[in-house]
């Protein structure tokens, strides 16, 4: 299938309820696609139910029916942080001509202790949550294992990834950290959250929504690869906690469908809920061998002016991470890059892009490959 249009709200602290954020993103996407809502055949949305929020909304599909004034089929496909990617994966298989995919999340409605508790529920209940292993903790254990095994990689490399993403967000008007410069010193000296991860290794919670219109009709952006794979919930139950099979399987299938190699990718949006996740993904996606990501980071391979820019939008770290909307915000960025509409952060001659979305600590992974069709 093809992508007609994309839209997203500015990520940040918003006073609006989530249905209004979804409405705003949809208006922009429909405008970009030059299509009226009448011509949409179905809607796939993604959003989570929160316990401590002001929203108290469980039946989001019907709420969207009220907001869009429609009776068309609407389903909700949540998947922790991979909701956006999962919704797009489902939307392509429904068999309709024009499908609206929208992801929305409103996180900033309670104090940060409550938000930490909410995120913790994506971990295993009796084995991890009761032992105090919250979301940063899960990833911190993986980070420590990685740094122990591959001694050439250090926290310096993690800080470089964070710095890269912040430098990119400086140029993205939709990002949370737009216009707010952050130096490498600040990143390296920020307080420890869950050792060895510091404040600037962790992505930032925001409110936001993103939408896109997928269609059977030929447009300039074709989805040439799309796959989803679920994995064991706790990282320590997997055979090798440093190889996230969800990424390996879904990206292998996506590359096969697309008929391309990792070296053909011009620009990528890689899930960086924590800097270590982005680093491990470089290897699992096939951009470098296991344990050797540090070489490419030092070369600047993934920088904006490097061989294959990654997270030109600022990534989850600096653009913001509204859980279910992230996957679609990644699609937004790739489409803008392929269409030459990314302004200050444009990658030259981008033809093939990849969007990689992870749920929880690797429990669900989606991989989408988009190609610019000329003429």
């Amino acid at each position: 299938m093809y992508i007609k249009g994309v839209g997203m709200t500015k990520f940040g602290i918003s006073g609006k309820f989530s249905q209004m954020l979804a409405y705003e993103a949809t208006l922009e996407a429909l405008n970009d696609a030059d299509i009226n809502f009448k011509d949409i055949d179905a809607v796939v949305c993604s959003s989570l139910e929160w316990f401590f929020s002001i929203e108290k909304q469980r039946h989001f599909a019907a709420l969207l029916a009220s907001v869009f004034k429609t009776h068309k089929p609407i389903i909700r496909v949540p998947a922790a942080c991979a909701g956006g990617g999962a919704a797009l994966w489902v939307a392509q298989q429904l068999g309709y001509d024009n499908v609206l995919v929208v992801g929305v999340e409103k996180l900033m409605t309670c104090k940060s202790e409550s938000i930490t508790d909410e995120f913790m529920m994506a971990a295993e209940s009796k084995w991890e949550q009761v032992e105090g292993l919250n979301f940063p903790g899960q990833n911190a254990l993986v980070a420590q294992q990685y740094l122990e095994k591959y001694k050439k990689t250090t926290t310096e490399h993690l800080a470089l990834i964070s710095f890269k993403n912040h430098s990119n967000a400086l140029l993205n008007p939709k990002a949370r950290f737009y216009g707010r410069k952050v130096t490498l010193e600040e990143i390296k000296n920020s307080p420890i959250i869950c050792s060895p991860l510091r404040l600037y290794d962790c992505s930032i919670s925001v409110d936001g929504a993103a939408a896109c219109v997928v269609t059977n009709e030929k447009t300039d952006i074709k989805i040439i690869g799309s796959d989803l794979c679920a994995e064991y919930l706790p990282t320590w139950e997997r055979e090798d906690s440093l190889r996230w099979e969800g990424t390996i399987i879904s990206s292998k299938n996506a590359f096969n469908q697309a008929g391309v190699e990792p070296s053909d990718i011009d620009v990528a949006e890689i899930h960086d809920a924590f800097t270590i996740v982005e680093l491990i993904a470089y290897e699992d996606l096939g951009f470098c061998k296991k344990g050797e990501a540090y070489k490419k980071i030092e070369e600047g391979y993934f920088n904006l002016d490097g061989k294959m820019p990654v997270n030109t939008s600022g990534g989850l770290k600096a653009k913001g991470h509204p859980v279910s909307a992230t996957g679609l915000a990644q699609i937004y960025e790739i489409v803008k890059q392929l269409r030459g509409e990314a302004k200050d952060r444009q990658v030259s001659k981008a033809k093939i892009g990849l969007a990689h979305n992870i749920g929880g600590a690797g429990g669900t992974v989606t991989c989408h490959i988009l190609k610019k069709i000329c003429g």
């Binding site: 602290i13 006073g15 209004m20 409405y23 009226n36 002001i54 907001v67 004034k69 104090k111 409550s114």
Partner: protein, 376 residues
Amino acid sequence: MAKIIRWICEKCNKKWIYPISRCLYCNGEIKKQIGMKIKVIGFTRIHIPCPPHPIVPYNVLLLEDEYGNRMPKKTIKDYNIGDTYEDIPSKEENAIAITKIKYDVYEAVKEALELIGDIEVDRTNKILIKPNLSIPGYPYLGIGTHPEVMRGLLRYLIERGANPKNITIAEQSFFFPFDKAIAKSRINQIVKEFGVNLVDLSKTEFIEKKEREFVFRVSKIVYDFDLIFNVPVIKTDMLLGIDGAFENLTRFLSKENFNEFVRDIKKAIGALAVLPNILPRFITIGDGTIGMQGNGPAEHGEPGFYNMIFAARNPVVHDKIVQEVLCLRRLPYVELAGKLGIGEYEVSKIKVIGNELDAVRRDIKQPIGSKLIKKD
């Protein structure tokens, strides 16, 4: 004076129960449709409770207005099908209005003020608005007066003829820098948007006022205004029970004066109770858009999500009803103020308009470990 709101597209006439910006189908302009001739077309009496609605049995009416728009409404009183549903406004001292917010804070503030008899303003009135911005915090946490309530109140006043140049927002913070509080709460944006004045009370001159055995040092500027709005944010508080109408007045005093009183609990209760007597008359608008529950702002309290606006001409009436709605133990300074005749304290003599008291009572996280509140 109950209202049913809809947002409708002028071109294609589709109706929404949410405030959207543009029509999704025809890009038309959106305008508000408010129905005020309301009839009861159905009702159900519910016998099973849940924490936000603990008092059973209660009724939920199905109301319909002259445009055919409907909405449900909770009451304890019984109604029959075909009855007219309306609220009668009252200008009396012992009246308090409680309105619920339906995605439009301006409408809720407007209705609350109309239910206590409307406010008359003109270009010459000098208006003072006192929000609670003592602790810096983002609006979504409910720590300070919500900018939407300020926006709604300013719109209401300016539409009725007030001159923005004659409106002043004044506040001070005893423990935090004033600029930080103003910026984080987004009030500075409001000041710019409406072109009103902003004053840091800690930089004003304080004059001495005596009441009974207490010596107060109160900001001089309070006496320059002829219309004053006290706009506290409804928070539970470990020390005082609630941060309501009375607590918000403490920041009219100088910091040293305030510190004298808090050292001695008995003195604090006595002083707080008579504080309204040394100030000119004011109207209290309680900001319950989000508010706080639990141990209050300083000790890990959390947002309350009350979704209500209170409005009263008397602070004793306001704080007493807030205490009843949140099912808290009695507040000694409010009870004392009632005994001294500053306002009506008996619930049976207070007129609650807009929503019934038993219909809005709710089960919230109580403030525990309070030093001031004795067990009943």
